[in-house]
Every structure is written in C-alpha cells, then in structure tokens.
Symmetry: C2
Subunit: 143 residues, 2 copies
DNA sequence: GGTTAACTGATACTTAGTCTCATGTCGGAC
DNA sequence: GTCCGACATGAGACTAAGTATCAGTTAACC
C-alpha cells in the first residue's frame, strides 16, 4: 500500500471525502522535498485553488499527516509526519530537519509545574543548530 | 531612575537616537498590560507611523528590551523583558504569561547533541497550560 | 547655529491566510 | 446507474502582519 493510499485511508476513516483537489495536493506533498511551504504546494498543485490548499493543509495537520516546522526566521514549513508528538532540530546551514520524539521535556515540565503551580498541557519546542555534514564542510572559524 | 529612563539609556548606549516617536512607543509599551500586540501599540501610539512602530519593536527586541511570546493560535505578542534567555508559560484560560529562566533544557540539549551529532546553537520553547487561579475558578469537569 | 547621518511617515507592496458564496461533486441510498 | 444532499471547491475580495521606498525631518555632535 502506497503512502498516498495510506493517507487516503486516513482521510476516509475520519469521514472526509476523497476529491480530485485533495489528491492533487497529496501528490504535491509526496513529491516535495523533506520540508516545504504552502507556497511550494500552491505552485506544484497550481490548478488547485488557494483556499483549498490552505484548507487541505490544515486538515492534514489535524490528522497528523503533516507537521509544521517553525524556521528561525519565523516562516512556517510543513513536513510529512508519521509519529505523534515530536520536535524538530533544524540545521541553520543546509536547512535539514531532524525529528526527535524521545523528547524529555517531561522532567522540565514536572519541575515547572511544581514551581509555578500551572497545570501544564502543551508545549512547542524547536531547536536550531548545525548538522554534522555542514560542520565538516564549513567549519566555523574562531574569532 | 524610571523604567523609561533605563530603556533610553540602553538605546543611547548602543548609539541609537532618542526621538519623539521612539519615546511615544516606549510610553505605550510601559502603559500596556503585561503582554500586547504590535497593533495595541499602533493604536496607543496612534500618531506614530506604522513602519516606525514595527522598526522600533524590532530594535527593542534586538536590545532585549522586549521579548516575543508566541500564543497558541500563532499570534505574536510582546512583553517587557528584563532578563536574558528565558521562556514563557502561557495560561490558556486567562492569557497570563509567566517567565521561566531556570530553563533546564540544557540537559535535553546535551543529550540531543550526542544522539544526533548536531551542534546545537539555539532553541525556542513555549509552554501552555492553566494557571492556579484559573484552575480554581473554572475546574475542568471530568468526562 | 550648522552639518549630516539617522530617523520618520506616507504610501505602496508583499506574504500568509481567511471569508463568502455560487457552483460542483463525492459517495451513500435506492 | 442515477439521484441527492452534504461536503467541498475556487474565484476573488478581504484582513493581518510586516517590508520597501524615498522625500523630508531632526537628534546629536561640533
Ligand atoms: Zn546541515
Ligand atoms: Zn515535547
Ligand atoms: Zn490563568
Ligand atoms: Zn532555554
């Protein structure tokens, strides 16, 4: 069963219709590089209306088909997502994104809950750095 | 020395001019509630040009006079900031924001650096929950 | 007081996303 | 297979958030 079929199955499972536009958006996503903007999708699936692309992206986000990556400059990128709760580690040089799901924010959260008396219900964490291959090819010069 | 004077001092220290527009923006910030949007400032300092307000907010951000709080709905709020690196704990009910600077993301970061071989250089963390008083006044009903 | 680089603000533009509503179509019922 | 209604679409106007341009103003330094 292809990735496309799996996503379609998930849509059906939640009572959403499988329309030609949605298929075109899905095709665009699956053909796209590891992360991309809504605008990339708009260009790729250029016969699908603007509003529909945005609506579809939101739908896919709600179904955990895609997740959003906040780039350091504030722009939102999207990325196919298989797992549940996770975070992103974004390379400042090449833009490569790594997921990490073994997020041990929980101890931080527990400690925070105790010290602030808030009941903590969610969090958003993005981490920025430089990946191994970028470090190798463009070493940062001291001074 | 007033808060206003302290901020002015910081601007001067970095070679920025003290203009009437900047003072009007600063006054708006200092009169504003604990967090606010650029639009709030625009309305409050309504005789200052739009571009100038945005430029001033960016300047103040660079000088660590204000910090940005990402609300759960994606909108950006601002907040006077005294400390350096810190994070926000936002109440979903009343919107109250608490800072926390004793952020022990560092152990998470170290672990992450080891497992991914990224050199980690920055992070962005926002935490959402419900504050003590909101929990007391609007308890979440089970079921 | 004069000089000048920094600053301002009007305005046009861009980017990201939402709203409306008339029209189209998916998919279940028959 | 075709009928039908709720769901979905798309054109386009609109909003929100921010940037770019540029002629005119002004703070700070002498
Ligand atoms: Zn890289
Ligand atoms: Zn997490
Ligand atoms: Zn609260
Ligand atoms: Zn931190």
């Amino acid at each position: 069963m292809s990735d496309l079929d799996l996503i379609i199955q998930r849509l059906e499972l939640h009572g959403h219709r499988i329309t030609a536009s949605r298929k075109r958006v899905l095709k665009a996503l699956l053909d796209a590089p590891a992360h991309f903007t809504v605008d990339d999708v708009l260009r790729q699936a250029n016969d699908v209306g603007r509003a529909t692309v945005f609506r579809t992206m939101k739908l896919l986000q709600d179904l955990n088909v895609v997740c959003r990556v906040m780039m350091e400059n504030g722009s939102l990128h999207y990325r196919l997502s298989t797992s549940g709760h996770h975070h992103h580690l974004v390379c400042r040089s090449c833009g490569q994104v790594a997921d990490f799901a073994n997020c041990d924010v929980s101890s931080l959260i527990d400690q925070l809950a105790r010290s602030t008396d808030y009941q903590i219900e969610g969090h958003w964490l993005e981490v920025y750095g430089r990946c191994a291959s970028c470090r190798a090819s463009e070493p940062v010069v001291a001074g």
